[in-house]
Symmetry: C2
Subunit: 298 residues, 2 copies
């Protein structure tokens, strides 16, 4: 039931994926799933590294699925970069054991009628700017987790809110898969790696790293006692001055419940979150509000 690309076994159906995972688990092996939308960069490969950490997984299945239900009308679903052969070669070179690449018709056959939604966590940050986005994420991730029956699944911390939503739904729906985050991988100048960075022109690419720099600076100011709301507002103004066209949000929130932090000092486990637009790209990033991160920013 498995095909092959670039010497990497490929499952095209949930049945083929599950058969392989069950076979591994019958052998006593632990299995990880690393869901992606393809257009892989080195950041995705850290998901595999996290998956293979001590006590985590012996086998890693990476999924590639550009999920239509998480794109709103007018977003970049049609133009989202797709290059399965290149992705498969990258995964094979990174020691991935299985590629799961279902078609949209496999995932959402005629008559499909089920929705999964996480309330609260999805109304804010990216949820406010992208209505329906996290409903689509919740649905596809529920399906992928239930299909794979993996021991662990790894998601990137760049999409921190997405990770929080996925932790919540996996817990609420009793899905027996541990949800792990993989730290943000950054270019040398601090820009968080993202498949959408390729939308940036060369001048825009030169501006893009200030998103991370402004977040780090604001985090250090807040650690130093600054008012969080004022520090965020200053950072957002700075981004516009630097050449960003608009700032969807730039906010301090708690790490798990994503509660807005409006007064100093911030609770432990707080983060700064931002989304800002630069040309065709909508860039997102987040950093911890903690002394260590602040010292690195200075």
């Amino acid at each position: 039931m498995l095909g092959e690309i670039a010497n990497l076994p490929v499952a095209r159906t949930a049945q083929a994926l599950r058969a392989q995972v069950r076979s591994w688990r019958m052998e006593g092996l632990r299995v990880a799933l690393t869901p992606t939308m393809g257009a892989l960069h080195d950041g995705h490969l850290t998901l595999l590294d996290v998956a293979r950490g001590p006590g985590r997984a012996d086998k890693v299945a990476a999924s590639i699925f550009v999920n239509p239900t998480q794109f709103a009308a007018g977003e970049d679903f049609d133009t989202y970069p797709r290059d399965e052969a290149r992705d498969a070669a990258m995964l094979a070179a990174s020691g991935c054991d299985l590629l799961y690449a279902p078609s949209p018709d496999q995932m959402y056959p005629d008559g499909f009628a089920t929705e999964v939604r996480v309330t609260g966590l999805t109304d804010l940050l990216c949820g406010a700017a992208r209505p329906g986005h996290f409903d689509g994420v919740a649905l596809v991730v529920s399906k992928l987790l239930i299909q794979a029956e993996a021991d662990v699944a790894v998601f990137g911390e760049k999409d921190w809110q997405q990770l929080a939503v996925i932790r919540r739904l996996a817990w609420d729906l009793d899905i027996p898969t541990d949800i792990l985050g993989a730290p943000v991988l950054r270019e040398a100048d601090g820009l968080a790696m993202s498949s959408r960075n390729r939308y940036l022109s060369q001048p825009q690419r030169a501006v893009a790293p200030v998103l991370h720099r402004r977040l780090r600076l604001a985090a250090s100011e807040i650690i130093g006692g600054a008012d969080p709301t004022a520090a965020c507002a200053a950072a957002a103004s700075g981004l516009l001055a630097d050449g960003f066209e608009s700032v969807d949000y730039l906010e301090a929130r708690t790490a798990d419940s994503l509660a807005l932090i409006e007064t100093a000092p911030p609770p432990t486990q707080s983060r700064l979150f931002a989304a800002a637009r630069l040309g065709r790209a909508r860039l997102i990033d987040n950093v911890p509000i903690e002394a260590e991160a602040a010292s690195k920013a200075l």
Copy 2:
């Protein structure tokens, strides 16, 4: 991790349930889940019989959970009959292998934020009269199926629409459990067994069986060539004349997609569905529109 009531092992947490089911499956045994809200009657016990049918399951776990999310405000959640000791004794006597009886706090802990919804199928029939009911059903059944990891799960055909919703969500979410229906068990006079029949006074109980009789009669008329809409309207008027206080619906629909049938002849696999109120009770029933059923009605 298991307790015991009436010599029946009892799991109070999803972890305890899953541990027992996994242990059975490791032994090569097939496992069934039969979800109920308790207040068991002989109709529930047919779920166990179906579960133990050839090739189905070697072990049966029955769940009892009066699910708050499927009751609307003003419905009978608080007064729904609860008698765990009696239910456990009935299950034990019927050869049930495990009772799963979680608390509401176990199922919906603080911070719970996830919704599951099936669109389309849930807007009509009971869904029109009970807003949010099937959202609650979809959520709790998703959780129970994911918790149990059973090979099969059995639901009563009296709640035919519920069964259709559950088949849809299990298929859409790739839950690897076969969903089976158990035929309606009826009293000698044709009344479908239901925990809510105990809400009927003696005179109401004498009237109640006409619900089934009128459905069978209408089915026979439709098989004989009558216009479905007219036959349904006549049956509904008949129920009111018989003493029912109101008729929420009485309609001919296809069995799987629940599409309304307005013209003769009906497609194969069609059914008549009704809900009608008699005193405190809201009774529901359904029958196939087929020659055999029609001949029994006459």
